[in-house]
C-alpha cells in the first residue's frame, strides 16, 4: 500500500532546506510510520535531489514525523530552474512510498 492511504504530508522550504511532515490519519497507524519510514528510507527515495543526510524528528503525541532534508545547491528556492522551485510537491513524493 502507498503511504498516501494511511497518512498525509505537507512540505515547507527555506533556501535549499525542505521539511516534510508525515501525519498518520489514525493514531493507531503511527507505529507503522515510525517503523518503516526511516530517515534512510526517505534518503533513498529522494536521492536524486538530495545532498547530505536526511534528519527525522518524531512527534508521537501528534502521530507525526518531520523530515528535514537539503536539496542540491542549484535547487535553492530563489535561483532554481525547476518548475516547483519551492519543492512544495515533495510531500507527495513522500506519500508515494510503498509499505
Amino acid at each position: 500500500m502507498h503511504l498516501s492511504e494511511i497518512a498525509h504530508a505537507r512540505a515547507g522550504d527555506k533556501g535549499n532546506l525542505v521539511t516534510l511532515s508525515l501525519i498518520a490519519y489514525r493514531s493507531a497507524d503511527y507505529p507503522l510510520l515510525e517503523q518503516h519510514v526511516t530517515a534512510g528510507r526517505v534518503e533513498k527515495h529522494l536521492a536524486e535531489i538530495l545532498e547530505g543526510p536526511v534528519s527525522r524528528y518524531e512527534l508521537p503525541q501528534l502521530g507525526a514525523l518531520n523530515f528535514v532534508l537539503r536539496r542540491k545547491q542549484q535547487y535553492s528556492v530563489t535561483r532554481s530552474l525547476a518548475l516547483d522551485a519551492h519543492g512544495k510537491c515533495l510531500s507527495s513524493a513522500l506519500l508515494a512510498i510503498k509499505l
Binding site: 533556501g15 511532515s21 535561483r79 518548475l83 510537491c89
Partner: protein
C-alpha cells in the same frame, strides 16, 4: 503540524538555515519550550498547555538574508499532443540541446510537464505516456542578452521542429538570497516613533 519558523527552538530540536541541523543549538530568536504532552484534543478543540517562555534564552547570532545578483534565466515552453506526443517532445528537446550548446548557458534544464517536471525522471519512471505533454527548457546565463536565446529558439520550433504549438517564453533576472548569521553585537538598532 508542529512546526516552528526556522531558528526557533521547539521541543528539543532546532534548525539552522545556514548550517547543518543541530540538536540543542544555541540559535534561539525567541525561546518557547513545548513539553512533550503539550497538546490535548477534546471534541475538536486542541489545548496547548505547559508552554514556557524562557526569556534568558537569547541567541548570540541574528539571521541575515543577503540578496545578490545571480545572472538571468531564459525559459521556453511548447506543447505536443495526440499520437507520438512524447516522441515529438523528445525530438524537440534534442534539437534544443544542440541549438543551445554554445549559447553561454551554464546550466540547462529540460522538463516534460505532465510527465517528470516535478519529481524528476527516477520517481516518474514506468508510467504510461500522457496524451499531451509540454516541453519546458530553462537556461541559466550571465546576461539578459544570452537569456533571450532560450525563448527565441523555442519559438523557432514552430516552423523548424516537430508539429506542436502553444509556445511561450520569458526571461528574468535572478536576485538570489543567501542566509547567513551575524553576531548580535554587530547590530545596533533604534526605534523612531512619530505621532500625528
Amino acid at each position: 503540524m508542529l512546526r516552528g519558523a526556522h531558528d526557533q527552538h521547539v521541543g528539543g530540536f532546532g534548525v539552522s538555515d545556514s548550517g547543518a541541523i543541530r540538536e540543542d543549538e544555541d540559535l534561539l530568536v525567541c525561546g518557547v519550550e513545548l513539553r512533550r504532552r503539550a497538546f490535548e484534543v477534546e471534541d475538536s478543540y486542541i489545548a496547548a498547555v505547559g508552554l514556557a517562555l524562557r526569556r534568558s534564552f537569547q541567541a548570540s547570532t541574528l539571521k541575515v538574508s543577503l540578496g545578490y545578483h545571480d545572472g538571468f534565466i531564459g525559459e521556453g515552453q511548447i506543447s505536443y499532443a495526440g499520437p507520438n506526443a512524447m516522441l515529438r517532445a523528445e525530438l524537440a528537446r534534442d534539437v534544443l540541446a544542440e541549438r543551445l550548446r554554445d549559447a553561454g548557458i551554464s546550466e540547462l534544464r529540460f522538463d516534460l510537464v505532465g510527465l517528470n517536471s516535478i519529481h524528476g525522471p527516477t520517481l516518474s519512471a514506468n508510467v504510461p505516456a500522457p496524451y499531451e505533454v509540454r516541453l519546458r527548457v530553462t537556461g541559466r546565463v550571465a546576461s539578459q542578452k544570452f537569456a533571450t536565446r532560450v525563448p527565441r529558439e523555442v519559438e523557432a520550433l514552430y516552423t523548424n521542429g516537430p508539429a506542436g504549438g502553444g509556445a511561450a517564453g520569458s526571461t528574468r533576472e535572478v536576485i538570489a538570497i543567501h542566509s547567513a548569521l551575524i553576531p548580535r553585537g554587530a547590530i545596533t538598532h533604534m526605534v523612531h516613533y512619530e505621532e500625528s
